[in-house]
Symmetry: C3
Amino acid sequence: MKLITAIVQDKDSNRLSNVFIDANVRATKLSSTGGFLKSGNTTFLIGIEDERVDEVLQIIKETSSSREQFMAPPVNLDVSMDAQVPFPLEVQVGGATVFVLPVEQFHQF
Amino acid sequence: MKLITAIVQDKDSNRLSNVFIDANVRATKLSSTGGFLKSGNTTFLIGIEDERVDEVLQIIKETSSSREQFMAPPVNLDVSMDAQVPFPLEVQVGGATVFVLPVEQFHQF
Amino acid sequence: MKLITAIVQDKDSNRLSNVFIDANVRATKLSSTGGFLKSGNTTFLIGIEDERVDEVLQIIKETSSSREQFMAPPVNLDVSMDAQVPFPLEVQVGGATVFVLPVEQFHQF
Ligand code: NI
Ligand code: NI
Ligand code: NI
């Protein structure tokens, strides 16, 4: 048994939850905030059998990896800013930080 | 020293807190939601000396075990539903998922 | 790699976050409540390289240690209570509970 602690951006949190449910992976979600990341994030606690650790890591990687995305321009864009701020802007979203922790005992009551 | 991580239903959370206080067990509560369970749950972090692990597990088992309970019928029960939905309904409540984690260092500042 | 789990009082939480950012220590914050402590507290999850564990512990110790502080008297102090409740009152604030956990795998996606 391992306890996987995964911190993902809120943006990816619901989708990850759904993929876990489809894959029959039990995950508990804790609302969290990051030191570096300004936006909110979610901490998942996932108890999983040793032989399924790679499967869970793969799910997290596919669902929550850091990637570039085009940001929609603000609605009231001042025409005079056009030259300085070209749109669409490419921004980095997502990203997951994952710890696999050893478990000495696991119980379900 | 061990770090016990216990996920219990909100329904049992206050009672478990009180039993921990009476037993002089220091527990920190985190608000959490589950992947499978629709209802909210609470994640307890409990730092405990090795020789008291069994005692803490026993407390969690006694306070938060999964059990069947009779659900009160809804107030405005439509008479025509009587045949299809017999009351009282027996539902499963409670349940705890518990991980005992090894601790390399423990400090209180 | 280690996962440091540190529970500190809300009072010290923002300051600790800032010191972590200045020291380039990545920390995730979870809102929590304590069993013994009535006031709210914050649980930090800090993933850190083995050789920086002592540095992180030192930061927590310097920022969040338990210490005595003089409490401001209540605004509408009844004169007749003067003899029974001398001001200023000295109260204990702060304090941190810290676990250093082993990590089997660490990934950033
Ligand atoms: Ni195992
Ligand atoms: Ni120990
Ligand atoms: Ni290591």
